[in-house]
C-alpha cells in the first residue's frame, strides 16, 4: 500500500462520519482506519491485525459492517460511516454499551468498539436473534479476554430491551 500511496497525489474525499460531513485530504489508498484515527482523531476504532481477521477496526459504512483496515479511503467518498464515537447520544449510552458494561462484555476493551458495532449491525438486521445467530453474527470479531460468553449475554440482553438502533 505504501507504493500506491506514494505514487498518487493526495485528493479530497468527502463523507459523513457519525452524521457530520467531513472532507479529508488524503492519499486515495490510505486505509479508512488511519484516516479515522489520525486525520479525524477518532481513536475509538482500533487496529488489531491489519489484515481483516480480528474485527477490532469494524465500523459501519452505509449500514454495512466493514473492517476499516481493508477499506481504501477513496471508497468511502459520499458514504456514511458510523464509528464507536457515534453510537452514544451524548452522555446517554446506547443500549449495547449499557449491557456490555453490566454483563462484563468488555474486559481489556480493545476489541470492544468493533464488537459493539458488529452487535449493533446484527441487531439492526435481526432485532431478536437466537443465541446461535449472535454467535455467528459476532464470529468475525476476535476477543482474547472474555471467551465471548458475557459478550453474547450482553447482546441478548440488549435485544430483549429493544431500542437497539
Amino acid at each position: 500500500m505504501t507504493d500506491s500511496r506514494e505514487s498518487r497525489a493526495k485528493t479530497e474525499i468527502s463523507f459523513a462520519v457519525n452524521g457530520e460531513r467531513k472532507t479529508v485530504h488524503a492519499y486515495p489508498m490510505e486505509r479508512l482506519l488511519d484516516v479515522l484515527r489520525l486525520e479525524l482523531g477518532l481513536t475509538g476504532t482500533k487496529e488489531g491485525c491489519g489484515e481483516g481477521e480480528c474485527g477490532s477496526c469494524s465500523v459501519l459504512m452505509d449500514d454495512t459492517l466493514v473492517n476499516s483496515c481493508l477499506v481504501p479511503v477513496l471508497q468511502v467518498e459520499g458514504s456514511s460511516v458510523v464509528t464507536i464515537e457515534g453510537l452514544a447520544a451524548g452522555e446517554t449510552l446506547h443500549v449495547l454499551q449499557e449491557t456490555f458494561l453490566e454483563c462484563g462484555g468488555a474486559q481489556c476493551g480493545i476489541c470492544t468498539p468493533g464488537m459493539i458495532l458488529a452487535a449493533a449491525h446484527l441487531l439492526n438486521g435481526k432485532p431478536g436473534p437466537t443465541m446461535e445467530e449472535i454467535r455467528e453474527g459476532l464470529s468475525g470479531n476476535l476477543c482474547r479476554c472474555t471467551g465471548y460468553s458475557q459478550i453474547l449475554e450482553a447482546v441478548a440482553e440488549a435485544a430483549s430491551r429493544g431500542n437497539t438502533t
Binding site: K46, I110, T112, G147
Partner: protein
C-alpha cells in the same frame, strides 16, 4: 458483611464507560508533538556472528535516526533476573528476530522500506531448536551446558518404593508454544529531557520492571526514569517482560534524536519477535498400589526457554511445584530444568509453567486409572490431598478443603456418569464419537516461596479534600478488573460508596512499587495491602479526633479536609509483611510454596468427527474453590476467558517453527477460538473462605488455564480409545493417532475404532 456491602457485588467496572464508548486511551492513541516513529532491524538467522551491516544507498539515510549497540549509554542488557539478554545485538545473534539496529523517522510509512534496506551479513553458527538437541549438548548455545536453571524437589524416599509397587506407570507428555495474542499489539512512547531523564508511556503489566531495565540500560537513577501505563489491551503475561525491551528501544531513539519516539509493533512483528508460552516435556514414572494409591514417583519436567534466561527460572519453579497436582505423594522426586535453544526467549503466559506440568499430571492420572482398572474419578478421589497432609514441597494443607466434594459436585452438574454411559452405547456406529474427560488441579496464588518477602510491596491510599479516596498502586489493569476490585476493597474498608474511590494511573512518579501485576497476586496480596492502608486512613482520622467510629461519607469528607488543612497531603502506606507461619527453604525447595491455593475440577464433553478428525467441545463445566468471590461478573469473566484460551492451547493454537522462527505469525494462520468455536462454559464457585487474602479472596486469574487441556484430551481418549499425549491436538494428529492405533490393533477403518 452486611447486605449493602460492596465486596461480593458486581459493581460497574471503573474504566468500563470509557471502554464501551471508545474514549479509553491506549498507547497508539497517544501522539506527542514532533514525535518520530521507530522500527527495529532484526536478525534473519538463528545464530551467528554479525560480519557486516550495509545500508542501501536508495534510502535517504540522513533523514533517519539510527541507533546501534554503540549508542547505549549504560549496560547493553535487559535487566531482569539475569543480564544475559542484550537490548541490541552487538557481535553475536542467538535467535531469529533478535534486535540489532533501531531506526526512527517522522513518516512511519517510510520505515518498513528502510528496515528492508539494511542488509546484514553473518558468519552463521550451528543452532539448536528442541529440548532434545539442547540436552545432547552438541552445541553449547548458552553457558557451558545449555541449562538455565534446575530445581530438585525431594520428599521421602523414592528409591525404596519401586519394589513395593503393584504397578509402575510411565508416560511422557509434551505441550507446545502458545502465543498470548492480546488484541492490542505491544507499543511504547519514550521522551527524553536532559534534566528530567526518560519518560515512557506504554502497554505494559509491570511499570517497575521497566524502570529497573531502563536504569541499567540508560545509566540513569530511579528519579530519572518515569514509566506510565496507558490503557492496556490485553496482556496475559505477554506484557510482563518484553515491554522492557521495547521501552529500551524507544528510549535509545529518544535520547539520540532528542524527540519523542513511538514504537508500535504490527501483528506479525509482535507474534514473531515477542515471548510465548514455554514448550515443555514431562516424564512421569509412578509407583501405585493395587488399590490405586500413589506410593511415590519421579517427575522429570523440562521447559524450552529459548535463547536467553528472561523469566525461565520462575516459570520452571511454578511448573515444578504444580507438577504433582492436587494429590498426596508420600514420596516424590521432581527434577526440573529449563534449557536454552535458539528460538526467541519464551516467557510469561497465564499459568506460568503450571498448565504444562498439570497437563502431564492429569493425562497421567487417566493412564494410571487404566492400569489399575479404576475410573478416572475414583483414581483421583483416592489420591486427593486432604487437610493435614503435605504437598510435594511438604507444605501442610491447613484449610478445610474437600476435593472429593468438589469432584462429586462437578460430576453431578456435568451429568458425567449418565453421559458417559450413553456415549459408550452411541459410539458403536456413526461418523462421530463422543467422550467425557476430567481434570483436577490447583493453582498457587502470589509469588512462590520467599518471593513476596523479597518483593516487599508497598501500597498507598490517599484521603482527598473532596471526601474521595485514591488508591496508589503499581498494579495494572489490562482487562482483569484490577481497578474495580481494588476500589471495592478500599470502599468496603472505609465504608464509603464505590463511586468515591478512584485509582491513580500507574505512574512510577506517583505510585509506590506494589510489585508486578502477575502470578494471580493482585487481589489476594495487593488487595490485602489496600485494605490495611485504607484502615490506616480511618485510624488516623479517628485517633486525631476528626471522626467518630461510625461516620457518613459527608463526615469523612469534612474530616479529610480538616486533616489536609492541618497536615498537608493525607496518605497512608502499607508494606507487605510475611505471615509468621510461612516458611520456605530456597536451597531445598521445601516449605510453604504459596500463601493459598485455589482448587478446581473441570469436566469436558467432546465430539470427534471421524470424517474431518476435528474435535468440538460441546459442554464445559468449571467448578472451583477460589475463596471469597469479590465480584461475581468479573470472576466469571476471568474463568471463562481463561478456559477459552486453554481450549485454543488444546485444540487450535499451533506455533509452526522453522529454524527457530515462527512461520505463522498472523491471525490468518495462527488460529484462536472465535465465538463459533466455543461451547457454553458453565462456571461454578464453591466458596470455602480463606483467611489469607483481602475479604478471603484467593488468586483467580491463572487457574482456568491449567485444567482444560488435560480434560479435553482425556475426553478425546474416552471418545476414541487412543492415547494422545501432546497439545495442541490438531485434526492431523488425531488422524495419525487413529491410523497408528488401528495398525496396532489390526482394526481396518476409523469406523471400527473402539
Amino acid at each position: 458483611m452486611s447486605s449493602d456491602s460492596i465486596v461480593g457485588k458486581s459493581v460497574p467496572r471503573k474504566e468500563g464507560r470509557d471502554k464501551v464508548t471508545g474514549r479509553s486511551k491506549y498507547i497508539d492513541d497517544m501522539v506527542l508533538p514532533n514525535m518520530l516513529f521507530g522500527a527495529t532491524v532484526r536478525s534473519q538467522i538463528p545464530r551467528g556472528r554479525i560480519r557486516k551491516i550495509t545500508f542501501d544507498p536508495g534510502i535517504a539515510w540522513d533523514e533517519f535516526v539510527i541507533v546501534s549497540a554503540k549508542d547505549i549509554p549504560g549496560k547493553n542488557c535487559i535487566a531482569l533476573i539475569g543480564d544475559d539478554q542484550p537490548c541490541l545485538a552487538n557481535e553475536f545473534v542467538n535467535h531469529p528476530e533478535e534486535p540489532i539496529l533501531l531506526l526512527a523517522h517522522p513518516d512511519r510509512h517510510l520505515l518498513p522500506k528502510a528496515v528492508d534496506a539494511v542488509s546484514i551479513e553473518y558468519d552463521p553458527l550451528p543452532a539448536i531448536f528442541t529440548i532434545e538437541e539442547s540436552e545432547r549438548r552438541s552445541e553449547a548455545v548458552w553457558g557451558e551446558d545449555n541449562i538455565f536453571k534446575t530445581y530438585l524437589i525431594e520428599k521421602g524416599d523414592v528409591d525404596g518404593i519401586w519394589e513395593k509397587a503393584d504397578y509402575i506407570v510411565e508416560g511422557e507428555y509434551t505441550t507446545g508454544a502458545q502465543e498470548q495474542l492480546y488484541i492490542e499489539n505491544n507499543g511504547m512512547i519514550a521522551a527524553y529531557d536532559a534534566a528530567q531523564g526518560i519518560t515512557v508511556w506504554g502497554s505494559l503489566q509491570c511499570p517497575y520492571y521497566i524502570q529497573k531495565a531502563l536504569m541499567a540500560l540508560c545509566n540513569l537513577s530511579a528519579e530519572n526514569v518515569r514509566v506510565v501505563q496507558m490503557e492496556t489491551g490485553g496482556a496475559f503475561g505477554g506484557k510482563e517482560e518484553y515491554p522492557s525491551m521495547i521501552a529500551g528501544h524507544a528510549a535509545l531513539l529518544a535520547i539520540k534524536s532528542g524527540k519523542p519516539v513511538k514504537i508500535v509493533y504490527d501483528r506479525m512483528e509482535d507474534m514473531a519477535a515477542t515471548t510465548k508460552r514455554h514448550p515443555s516435556r514431562t516424564r512421569h514414572r509412578t509407583a501405585v498400589s493395587r488399590d490405586g494409591k500413589i506410593l511415590g514417583g519421579e517427575i522429570d519436567f523440562t521447559i524450552d526457554g529459548g535463547a536467553y534466561l528472561t523469566l525461565s527460572p520462575v516459570v520452571l519453579s511454578r511448573g515444578a511445584i504444580h507438577a504433582g497436582g492436587p494429590y498426596y505423594w508420600p514420596s516424590v522426586l521432581i527434577c526440573a530444568k529449563a534449557v536454552a535453544t535458539n528460538a526467541p526467549p519464551h516467557g510469561a503466559f497465564r499459568g506460568f509453567g503450571a498448565p504444562q506440568s498439570l497437563f502431564a499430571m492429569e493425562r497421567h492420572m487417566d493412564r494410571i486409572a487404566q492400569k489399575v482398572g479404576l475410573s478416572p474419578a475414583e483414581i483421583r478421589r483416592r489420591n486427593f490431598l486432604q487437610t493435614g497432609q503435605t504437598t510435594t514441597t511438604e507444605q501442610a494443607v491447613r484449610e478445610p478443603i474437600n476435593l472429593g466434594k468438589l469432584l462429586d459436585r462437578a460430576l453431578e452438574v456435568s451429568d458425567y456418569h449418565a453421559k458417559k454411559q450413553r456415549f459408550a452405547n452411541e459410539n458403536q456406529g456413526g461418523i462421530s464419537r463422543k467422550g467425557m474427560g476430567m481434570a483436577a488441579f490447583l493453582h498457587g496464588a502470589g509469588f512462590t516461596g520467599s518471593g513476596e518477602r523479597y518483593l516487599s510491596s508497598v501500597v498507598g491510599v490517599e484521603g482527598c479534600a473532596d471526601g474521595s479516596v485514591r488508591v496508589l498502586v503499581s498494579s495494572t489493569e489490562f482487562g482483569q478488573g484490577t481497578k474495580t476490585v481494588l476500589s471495592q476493597i478500599a470502599a468496603e474498608t472505609l465504608g464509603l460508596p464505590y463511586e468515591n474511590v478512584s485509582m491513580a494511573q500507574p505512574d512510577t512518579l506517583e505510585v509506590p512499587n506494589s510489585g508486578p501485576t502477575v502470578a494471580s497476586r493482585t487481589v489476594m496480596v495487593v488487595g490485602k495491602l489496600v485494605r490495611s492502608a485504607a484502615l490506616g486512613i480511618r485510624q488516623t482520622l479517628i485517633s486525631s479526633n476528626l471522626l467518630r467510629e461510625d461516620y457518613s461519607a459527608d463526615e469523612f469528607r469534612v474530616a479529610c479536609q480538616h486533616y489536609i488543612a492541618a497536615h498537608g497531603p493525607f496518605r497512608s502506606w502499607s508494606r507487605y509483611e510475611a505471615p509468621a507461619d510461612i516458611f520456605w527453604d530456597d536451597e531445598k525447595y521445601r516449605g510453604e510454596a504459596y500463601a493459598a491455593f485455589a482448587w478446581a475440577v473441570y469436566i469436558a464433553e467432546v465430539t470427534v468427527d471421524l470424517t474431518t478428525y476435528s474435535v468440538s467441545v460441546d459442554d464445559f463445566v468449571a467448578l472451583q474453590e477460589v475463596g471469597k468471590v469479590l465480584h461475581p461478573v468479573l470472576a466469571k469473566g476471568q474463568i471463562i476467558g481463561g478456559i477459552a484460551q486453554a481450549i485454543g492451547f488444546s485444540l487450535y493454537e499451533k506455533v509452526v517453527w522453522q529454524n527457530g522462527r515462527m512461520q505463522n505469525s498472523q491471525m490468518t494462520n495462527y488460529i484462536m477460538p472465535t465465538s463459533s468455536d466455543l461451547p457454553p462454559i458453565r462456571v461454578f464457585f464453591e466458596e470455602l473462605g480463606n483467611v489469607y487474602g483481602a475479604y478471603g479472596a484467593k488468586g483467580i486469574g491463572e487457574l482456568p488455564m491449567d485444567g482444560p487441556a488435560p480434560a479435553i484430551v482425556n475426553a478425546v481418549e474416552d471418545a476414541l480409545g487412543v492415547h494422545f499425549n501432546s497439545v495442541p491436538l490438531l485434526p492431523e494428529d488425531i488422524m495419525d493417532g487413529l491410523a497408528a492405533s488401528s495398525q496396532e490393533s489390526g482394526v481396518g477403518s476409523a469406523d471400527e475404532v473402539r
